[in-house]
């Protein structure tokens, strides 16, 4: 006999509906799964069989064929377990087909028949076309976010069979734990002094400009970078859903079992491979750190220690805001709309950072600097040299401005951009800049001077203009950009790694 139960499988951050068809017929007892199952799905046989027996049901000693349709799309994950179990029960006539009409299933089975949670339930539940979707208890709240009212959860397979075949009611949904909505980001008030770096953080948050901190160890680069995420505006509903989906697909726990409402902050270690950063993988297309940080902050500490090819892989996604991962068995597109913050030492020794203070050999310095390619450095609109704070500043008891106050200014600048109907200043195209950021004669003169002294490339010019716009917006100056704004933008964009060395000796004459 034949039975079909709806379920879903994950590809990248995207769910695909999968129809689990089970056919039970006479013949030699056997069990086979067709339709490009992955390994964990292939192993479903042993889990499902044990779970059925544990619940007091029978395992049909017949020929069982499981087909995962559409058959051309690779399907995987243990999330199909429950659907297979239900279909086997119907196909072997242990429960009636009516019981599973328009029921979708999405859970892994334990050998004792318990339903276990699966990662990525958010995008999965979304694609199942059924009136009722059964998930594990701990997946309930997450699944309910996208399919309110359709989701049901039980503890065990036995309980589920009783509900489907008898008069037993569905158990009440679990209570969402009460957790404060405010994320506990470190506060800007903890920063003593460092007014310049604070201003850079404010500009980065207000305009969405990528930011690079360069300075000796102990200068507070990481401490500052971690405070940036608190300055960003909260996610709107659409962003929130997208970010939550990505995190769900990556198997990350969602905060207090609900949507992610605040910009994420990701700080991968510098040992990260490029696949872990960009996304992909051999078995499944998992979103990388870049996508997990989407609409939030991606913080790369010790930028100079990342593999050069890993860093260069970030270039295209940073430009386009999406990352397209292609593999032999398929491709996936993930969002990559991050605010990138880098931190690095000026040279391997860290030195005092100041000119004349470093003890590295020229070769060691240039090797270190070559790890950051020019095009990548170009992506950073703001490059700040951080020195160790002066002792009086460190010991000062005067608290800095709190995150909430700075964020108000940031939100105002974002609102101004929204009013203009343009993206945040960091993403303005050269064409948009012409209309949004007109220059006064004074500002034009400053830029011409910088171009003449070869401080700026054509691309650099646009970036400086975009930063100038943000600076002016922050100061509440609308209309044309003044010389002062452009000069501030130039000071915020010094080249911390100037003076790269040549690689080969060269013959004269």
């Amino acid at each position: 006999m034949l039975a079909t139960v709806a379920s879903a499988s994950l590809s990248g951050a995207q769910g695909w509906p999968v129809g689990v068809e089970v056919h039970v017929s006479g013949g030699m007892p056997s069990f086979s799964i067709v339709g490009l199952p992955d390994t964990s799905c292939r192993e479903a046989r042993d889990r499902v069989r044990a779970a059925l027996l544990s619940c007091g049901m029978e395992w049909p000693m017949q020929r069982i064929t499981v087909n995962l349709s559409p058959t051309g799309v690779p399907a995987g994950g243990a999330g199909l377990d429950l659907a297979i179990a239900l279909a086997v029960l119907v196909a072997s006539e242990q429960i009636t087909p009516l019981a599973i009409t328009s029921v979708g299933a999405l859970a892994e089975l334990g050998l004792d028949g318990t339903l276990r949670p699966v990662p990525g339930v958010l995008p999965l539940v979304d694609v199942i076309a059924a009136d009722t979707v059964v998930v594990a208890r701990s997946n309930h709240i997450e699944a309910d976010l996208v399919a309110p009212g359709l989701v049901r959860s039980v503890h065990t397979l036995g309980e589920l069979i009783d509900i489907l075949t008898g008069d037993v009611a569905w158990p009440a949904p679990p209570e969402a734990p009460e957790v404060a909505d405010e994320p506990n980001h470190p506060d800007m008030a903890d920063v003593r002094g460092q007014f310049f770096a604070r201003f850079a953080l404010e500009v980065a948050a207000a305009g969405g400009h990528h930011l690079l901190f360069v300075g000796p160890p102990g200068g507070g680069k990481s401490m500052l970078a971690r405070r940036l995420v608190g300055l960003l505006p909260p996610l709107d509903r659409e962003q929130s859903l997208l970010v939550s989906r990505i995190h769900s697909a990556a198997g990350e726990l969602l905060p207090s079992r609900g949507f992610i409402r605040h910009p994420p902050f990701r700080a991968p270690h510098h040992g990260a491979s490029s696949v872990s950063l960009i996304g992909g993988g051999t078995a499944s297309m998992r979103p990388g750190e870049l996508s997990l940080a989407s609409d939030g902050v991606l913080f790369l500490d010790e930028l100079g220690e990342f593999g050069p090819s890993t860093l260069d892989a970030l270039r295209q996604p940073l430009e386009e805001g999406v990352v397209r991962v292609a593999r032999a068995h398929g491709s996936a597109t993930f969002p990559a709309n991050v605010l990138l913050v880098g931190a690095m030492n000026p040279c391997p020794c860290g030195g005092a950072g100041s000119p004349g203070g470093c003890r590295c050999s020229e070769a060691a310095r240039s090797r270190y600097h070559r790890r950051i390619s020019g095009p990548l450095l170009d992506r950073f609109d703001l490059r700040i040299t951080v020195a160790r704070p002066e002792p009086a500043e460190l010991l000062s008891t005067e608290a800095g401005e709190a995150t909430s106050e700075v964020r108000d200014r940031v939100l105002r600048v974002r609102a101004i951009a929204a009013e203009r109907g343009t993206p945040p200043n960091g993403q303005l195209s050269p064409l948009e800049l012409e209309s949004v950021a007109p220059l006064t004669a004074g500002a034009r003169a400053v830029l011409e001077q910088a171009l003449a002294e070869q401080q700026l490339s054509a691309r650099g010019l646009h970036r400086v203009r975009a930063v100038s716009r943000t600076v002016a917006d922050l100061l509440g100056d609308e209309g044309e950009l003044e010389a002062e704004h452009v000069q501030t933008a130039l000071v915020l964009r010094t080249d911390p790694l100037a003076g790269g060395r040549p690689r080969r000796r060269q013959h004269v004459r």
Binding site: F195, T385, Q487, V491, V508
Partner: protein, 389 residues
């Protein structure tokens, strides 16, 4: 004698060159290219066989015992490697490569060898040169210092190099990055007394490559010297060896800026061995790049606070040059405050903001305006004040 190398036009077909027709410089180049042929060993060979061609033939065909005897010690592996080298290499071919780059050579036994080097306790055996070696004749001052100099050291080295050259003093330095390059740049810009550079690698290639233009300029206006033959890479040991030649060539060594340890301090030691007076430029006591020079002053070195100090020490008349008039536009009141807050030590924008407690926009405007006017300069995010040129 130096002109000798130019008399011999390079022959386009080395195979046809008559070995007897090759100049001594060719044989010297070939001898210096042998593995393990350092200045002391070469000097012994050249004293035994004043004609380098004979020394070559002695290694090729002569009795090895004779060579062991000349070296003063039995060293079979070395002599064997020399024999192999001599057998495998064609002198004419080596000379062709070397002379194509314009490199000349002079041996320590030649009358053309610079006298102050010939009398040196540890002289180079062969000196290769690019440019005109006759310029070594006049008064010479060595200007040395750290590769990782501050703007302060860079500016002083450049000014000293320029003013010494204008006073007719040849500037001797090592063409390294930092102070060396700044001193030579000053000397080259002056278009006066010829600069003298002593480098650690073979003269066929530029090291460090960033000084490529300066290297060519020095070779055109003066001379670039090296102990290393054609094709030799700058091995570590060659830098201290180069420093001793700088010390030996200089009438006075001026250390502009130096860390507590480093090549400049080694040059100072070599100068002391040769009774060459050493002068040091005082630096800020907080600057790690001035630790070495300030230490020298504490040890009793004469301070070099101006070019006149150096000229007087040389026994020359002070130049009497007034420092050039201020041509930069006067800083505004606010800009003056920034200059005062900056002082003469490098500072980041962050540090300036901490000292001034202004808004970032106010400071940014002042910094860019000051940089445009030439009052300050920015390197890697650090701002430094520029002295009057």
């Amino acid at each position: 004698m130096f002109a000798e190398s130019q008399l011999w036009a390079p022959n386009p077909s080395p195979a046809l060159v008559d070995p007897l027709a090759l100049p001594p410089a060719a044989w010297l180049t070939a001898l210096a290219s042998m593995p393990g042929a350092g200045p002391r060993r070469l000097a012994r060979l050249l004293r035994r066989w004043p004609d380098p061609a004979e020394a070559w033939r002695a290694i090729l065909e002569g009795d090895p015992t004779d060579i062991h005897h000349t070296l003063g010690k039995r060293n079979t592996p070395l002599v064997d490697s020399w024999r192999r080298f001599v057998a495998a290499n064609d002198v004419a071919e080596l000379w062709q490569l070397s002379s194509d780059c314009g490199i000349g050579a002079v041996g320590c036994t030649s009358p053309a060898f610079p006298s102050m080097l010939a009398d040196d306790p540890d002289p180079p055996a062969v000196l290769f040169h690019l440019g005109n070696p006759d310029v070594i004749a006049g008064p010479r001052v060595g200007i040395v210092g750290t590769r990782k100099c501050t703007r302060y050291g860079h500016d002083i080295a450049k000014t000293f190099g320029r003013d010494l050259a204008l006073a007719g003093v040849a500037v001797v330095s090592g063409l390294a990055l930092g102070v060396d390059a700044a001193a030579h740049q000053g000397a080259v810009d002056a278009h006066a007394a010829p600069p003298i550079a002593v480098v650690a690698n073979g003269l066929d290639s530029v090291y460090p490559r960033r000084n490529r233009q300066l290297w060519t300029d020095v070779a055109e206006a003066g001379v670039v010297l090296s102990e290393a033959p054609y094709g030799q890479s700058p091995e570590r040991w060659r830098f201290p060896a180069r420093n001793r030649i700088i010390a030996a060539l200089s009438d006075i060594v001026v250390v502009v800026e130096s860390h507590e340890r480093g090549g400049s301090m080694h040059t100072v030691t070599e100068a002391a061995l040769r009774d060459v007076p050493v002068m040091a430029v005082p630096g800020p006591i907080h600057s790690s790049a001035a630790e070495g020079t300030n230490e020298l002053l504490r040890d009793g070195c004469a301070p070099a606070c101006s070019v006149d100090d150096v000229l007087i020490e040389l026994g020359m008349v002070a130049s009497g040059r007034e420092s050039s008039a201020e041509t930069r536009p006067d800083p505004t009141g606010q800009q003056r405050q920034v200059l005062d807050a900056l002082g003469w030590l490098p500072a980041t924008a962050e540090q300036l903001l901490g000292r001034l407690r202004w808004s970032v926009a106010e400071l940014g405007a002042c910094l860019v305006a000051l940089e445009t006017a030439g009052w300050i300069v920015e390197t890697n995010g650090w701002f430094e004040r520029v002295a009057r040129g």
